[in-house]
Amino acid sequence: MQTFTPATEADAADIIRLATAPLQIEGAGTKSALGRPCVGDVLRSTGLSGITLYEPSEMVISARAGTPLADITDTIAAKGQMLPFEPMDFSQLLGTVDQIEGRRATVGGMAACNLSGPRRIQSGAARDSILGLRFINGAGEIVKTGGRVMKNVTGLDLVKINCGAFGTLGFLSEVTIKLLPIPQKAVTFVIKGLEDAEAVGVLATALGSPFEISGAAHLPFGLGRNISRTLMRLENFEASITYRIDQLRKLFGAHKDINVLEGEDSVRLWRGIRDVEFIAKPQANIIWKISCAPSNGPKIMAELRALGGTHYYDWGGGLVWLSLEAPHAEVVRAAAARFGGYATLIRAPETVRAQIPVFPPESVPLTALTRSVKASFDPRGILNFGRMVEGI
C-alpha cells in the first residue's frame, strides 16, 4: 500500500485520473476508523495546506483542504470569530491520537464528515455553514461548487451532498466557511436530578422558549456525577444572559436543584459533550449515534435499556450517544426505526464495520439514487469505494 501526499490540487487530480484501482481518501486520518473499511493506496490532502482567504468583516474563510482545523480556529478566534457548528474532535473517541502522532485533524476531513456539535440545534450542521467547495471528482476533474457569499442559489448545489459523503464523491481540495462572532459570554443553566423523559421535556420547553438555547443536553446519573444533569447553554451579550437566566429561573422555578456554570466550567462541559468524552471509555465498547426527533430519544432508550450500556443526549434529545459492550445492531436499529430515527455506528472494530452496515440502511429507491449519484461523480469507483455502502 502506497501513500500519496500531493503538494498541489493539479497533482492530486493527476493521481486520481491515472488511478486504475480504488484510492483511500484521507486528510490526516484522524477519522479513518469512521465508516466501512475500504482498501487501496492512500491519497492524503495534508500536502494541500494554508488559508487562502480570510475576510473578518465578511465573516468568511477559505482554506485548502489539508489545513489543520486548529490553525483555522486559532486564526479566526484572534479576530473574535468561530465556526458556527462546533465540530467535534474524534481523536480521543476513536483512539487515533497516539497512532498518528504529529498529524492533526483537517478542515477537509471535517467537511467530508459533516462534523457538527452541540450548536447544531441553533446554527445548523457543517453543511449549513460551508459556502463553497473545490473538489476533484473520480474522473480527475477539478470542480468548484458554491462560492464565498452566504446567499447563493446559482446552479445545482453540490456542496451539501459532498459534506457527509466521506470522500466517496470527491477529493476535497478547498473549503469556504461562513463564520459567526464569538458571543460575549456563555453560561450553562443546570437542573439536577431529572429522569431522561422528564429532562427531554424540560429541554423542549427551553428550546421552545424565545431564549435562544445554543446547547441542550442531558447527562444521566453516573456520567461524571452521581446525579443526572440537564444542561441548557446561553450564548449572547452580557445584558441578554442576565435577563435570560432570570427568565429560565422563572420558567423552571418548580425544580429545586438549579445552578449556573460560567467560564471554563461551562466551556469544559460542552467540549466533553461535543467530543463524546463521557462514554469514550472503555475503549473496547461499541459507540452508536442515534438521530431522532428529540421527544423520541428517551422512548428509544427505554426500549434499549435491557442491553445495558451508557448513554447521554444532545440536541435536546434528538441525538443519543450510546456505548454498548456488543453491537446489537438489529435491536438498536429496530428501536430507532420504530420512532423514525437513524442509528449510525461510530466506533467498532474493523471486522464489525465490515459486517454490519455502518450507516443506516436506506430504502430501495434511495439506495438506487445513492448508486446513480455516486456514478455521476465517480463512474469508475475510485474514491473511497465502499466506505459508506458496500459495493458503492
Binding site: 475576510e55 468583516s57 465578511e58 470569530q81 457538527s116 447544531r120 445548523g124 453543511r127 449549513d128 476533474e141 477539478i142 470542480v143 461548487t145 462560492g147 457569499v149 452566504m150 446567499k151 447563493n152 442559489v153 446559482t154 446552479g155 445545482l156 448545489d157 453540490l158 451539501k160 451532498i161 459534506c163 457527509g164 462572532p181 464569538i182 421535556g201 423542549a204 428550546l207 421552545g208 424565545p210 449572547n236 451579550f237 445584558a239 441578554s240 435577563y243 438521530s291 431522532c292 426527533a293 440536541w315 434528538g318 430515527g341 437513524y342 449510525t344 450507516f359 443506516p360 436506506e362 430504502s363 429507491p365 434511495l366 439514487l369 446513480s372 449519484v373 455521476s376 461523480f377 459508506m388
Partner: protein, 474 residues
C-alpha cells in the same frame, strides 16, 4: 424579439396532445385537468411575464399518488413535465414549454402535523409560505424564511428555488429550515428523504433537492423546522446622505460581531417609490436608507440598538427613527416588502438578484447606476444588505422591444459584475431561464457538466423542467 430562447418543441408530442390529455383524464377528475385555451392561459408564464409558452395541459393532482401516476404516465410517453407552485418565480423557473404538461401542486395545501415539542411541522407542498407561519402564530411560533412573495408563494416552490427573504441573515434560507420531504421522481417512484430528525445518515439528498429548480423530482410534502418567535421585534430606519456611508455602516456592524435579524437597503429612487405606496414614514431627504431590525426583550433590543446606533453615528447617519408601535413597524416592513409591487405601478421592471461580498457593496452600487445609465434607463435598488444579496430593479417599457433588450443587457452586465467581484448570479430567485445563458460566466464547463450528470442521476431522460438552469447546448 425576446432574447432568451426556448427549446424547440417536439412535433411528435404536440401531435399526440389529445392522447396525452385522454391519459391524464384517467388519473385525475375532470375538474383537476385544465385543457381549454382560456384556462391554460393563466399558467403560460410566472412572474417573469415577458416570456410565456402555452403548455399542452395543466394537471392539479390532489395527493402524492396522483402525482406519481401522472409522472409514470408522462415518463412512459416521453412527455416533459414542469412543476408549478404559485407561479411567482422571478427567474422564469415555472414557465411551461409548449410540449410539456404543467403539474401544479396548489390543490395539495394542507397541514398534516404540528409538533411543538420537537419544533417541526409537516405540510403539503401547495401550502403558501405565509399560511405555515399563520397556522402556528397563535402558539408563538413561525417558519423563518420569508420571501417577499410569501403571501402567494408555496413551500413547494420555496424548496425548488431554495428561497430566502429579509430575515435569513439570522435564520438561514429554505435549505437550513427543512428536515425532510416526500418527493416523486420522474419515473413515478415515491421517495422519502430525511424525516423529522436533524441528521439522516447516508448521502445528503435533501441538500441536493432543495434548490434543484424542479429538475430532480416533484416534492409533495415537507417537514419544516418551526421556531419560537422572539419576545419582540423593532425595525429602525437609518437615513444616510451618501450610499457609500450606508454600505460602510453595514460592513462595520457585521465587523463588530453584531448580527441583526435583518438589514435592508434602499436607495433614493426605491425610497420614493415605496414611500408613495406604503406611507411608512421613510425619510425623503436621504440618499440611502437602512432598515435594521433587532429582536428580543425590551432590555435586549435597547442594548443591541445602542451599539448599532453608535456605529451608525460613526458613519454619519442623518436620521435614526425607531418604530414606536406595532402599526409603525408593520408599515416599515410593508414598504419594504411591497417594493417590487410598488415599482411595478411606476414602470415595468426586471429584478436582478446577484450576491456580492459585503465589502464590495458600495462599489457595485456605484457601477450598477453607471451601467444602467449607460443604457439610458433608470434603476431602483432595494435589497438584503447584511448578506450582500442585491436586487436592482431596472425599469423599462415592456411594449418597447428595443428598451426591453437594453434592460436585459444592463441586467446581464450587472450580474457579470457580481460574479467578477467574488459573488454569484443569483442569491435567492434561482437561475430559471433568466440567468441560464450566463452560467458559463460563473462556472466552467466541467462544473456545469458535473451538475448536469447529478440531475441525470435522478431524471435520466431529462423530462423534468428542461430548458432551465443549464445553457441549452448542454
Amino acid at each position: 424579439m425576446n432574447a432568451i430562447l426556448f427549446p424547440i418543441p417536439d412535433a411528435n408530442i404536440l401531435d399526440k396532445r389529445d392522447q396525452i390529455i385522454a391519459g391524464l383524464a384517467q388519473i385525475v377528475p375532470f375538474e383537476n385537468l385544465i385543457t381549454t385555451l382560456d384556462e391554460r392561459r393563466a399558467f403560460e408564464t410566472d412572474a417573469l411575464t415577458a416570456y410565456r409558452r402555452m403548455p399542452l395541459a395543466v394537471v392539479l393532482p390532489r395527493n402524492t399518488q396522483e402525482v406519481s401516476d401522472i409522472l409514470t404516465f408522462c415518463h412512459a410517453h416521453g412527455v416533459k413535465v414542469v412543476a408549478r407552485g404559485a407561479g411567482t418565480s422571478l427567474a422564469g423557473g415555472a414557465i411551461p414549454l409548449e410540449d410539456s404538461v404543467v403539474v401544479g401542486v396548489a390543490k395539495m395545501n394542507g397541514v398534516l402535523d404540528v409538533n411543538f415539542a420537537d419544533r417541526t411541522m409537516k405540510v403539503q407542498a401547495g401550502i403558501t409560505n405565509l399560511a405555515i407561519s399563520g397556522h402556528i402564530a397563535d402558539n408563538g411560533f413561525f417558519y423563518a424564511p420569508d420571501p417577499s412573495s410569501q403571501l402567494a408563494c408555496t413551500i413547494g416552490g420555496n424548496i425548488a428555488m431554495n428561497s430566502g427573504g429579509a430575515h435569513c441573515l439570522k435564520y438561514g434560507v429554505t435549505v437550513n429550515n427543512i428536515f425532510g420531504v416526500k418527493m416523486v421522481l420522474m419515473d413515478g417512484t415515491i421517495v422519502d428523504i430525511g424525516g423529522d430528525t436533524m441528521d439522516a445518515g447516508g448521502l445528503d439528498f435533501l441538500g441536493l433537492v432543495v434548490g434543484s429548480e424542479g429538475q430532480l423530482g416533484i416534492v409533495t410534502e415537507a417537514t419544516v423546522r418551526i421556531l419560537r418567535s422572539a419576545e419582540g421585534a423593532r425595525p429602525v430606519l437609518f437615513g444616510f446622505e451618501g450610499v457609500e456611508a450606508a454600505a460602510a455602516c453595514v460592513a462595520a456592524i457585521i465587523g463588530e460581531g453584531i448580527i441583526p435579524v435583518a438589514m435592508e437597503f434602499m436607495d433614493k429612487i426605491a425610497i420614493e417609490i415605496c414611500e408613495a405606496f406604503a406611507h411608512a414614514g421613510y425619510p425623503m431627504d436621504c440618499d440611502a436608507l437602512l432598515i435594521i431590525e433587532v429582536e428580543g426583550s425590551e432590555i435586549e433590543m435597547d442594548a443591541q440598538l445602542a451599539r448599532i446606533v453608535a456605529i451608525a453615528k460613526q458613519h454619519g447617519v442623518k436620521v435614526v427613527r425607531a418604530s414606536q408601535s406595532a402599526m409603525e413597524a408593520a408599515a416599515i416592513w410593508k414598504g419594504r416588502k411591497s417594493a417590487f409591487g410598488a415599482t411595478g405601478r411606476v414602470a415595468d421592471y426586471i429584478c436582478m438578484d446577484g450576491t456580492v461580498p459585503t465589502s464590495q457593496l458600495s462599489y457595485v452600487l456605484k457601477r450598477t447606476h453607471e451601467i444602467v445609465r449607460g443604457y439610458g434607463l433608470r434603476v431602483a435598488n432595494v435589497f438584503h444588505a447584511g448578506d450582500g444579496n442585491m436586487h436592482p430593479l431596472i425599469m423599462y417599457n415592456v411594449n418597447d422591444s428595443a428598451e426591453q433588450a437594453k434592460a436585459e443587457s444592463a441586467g446581464n452586465d450587472i450580474l457579470k459584475l457580481c460574479v467578477d467581484v467574488g459573488g454569484c448570479l443569483t442569491g435567492e430567485h434561482g437561475v430559471g431561464i433568466e440567468k441560464r445563458d450566463l452560467m458559463r460566466h460563473q462556472f466552467s464547463n466541467i462544473d456545469l457538466a458535473q451538475q448536469r450528470r447529478v440531475v441525470g442521476a435522478f431524471d435520466p431522460l431529462g423530462l423534468l423542467n428542461p430548458g432551465k438552469v443549464f445553457p441549452l447546448d448542454m
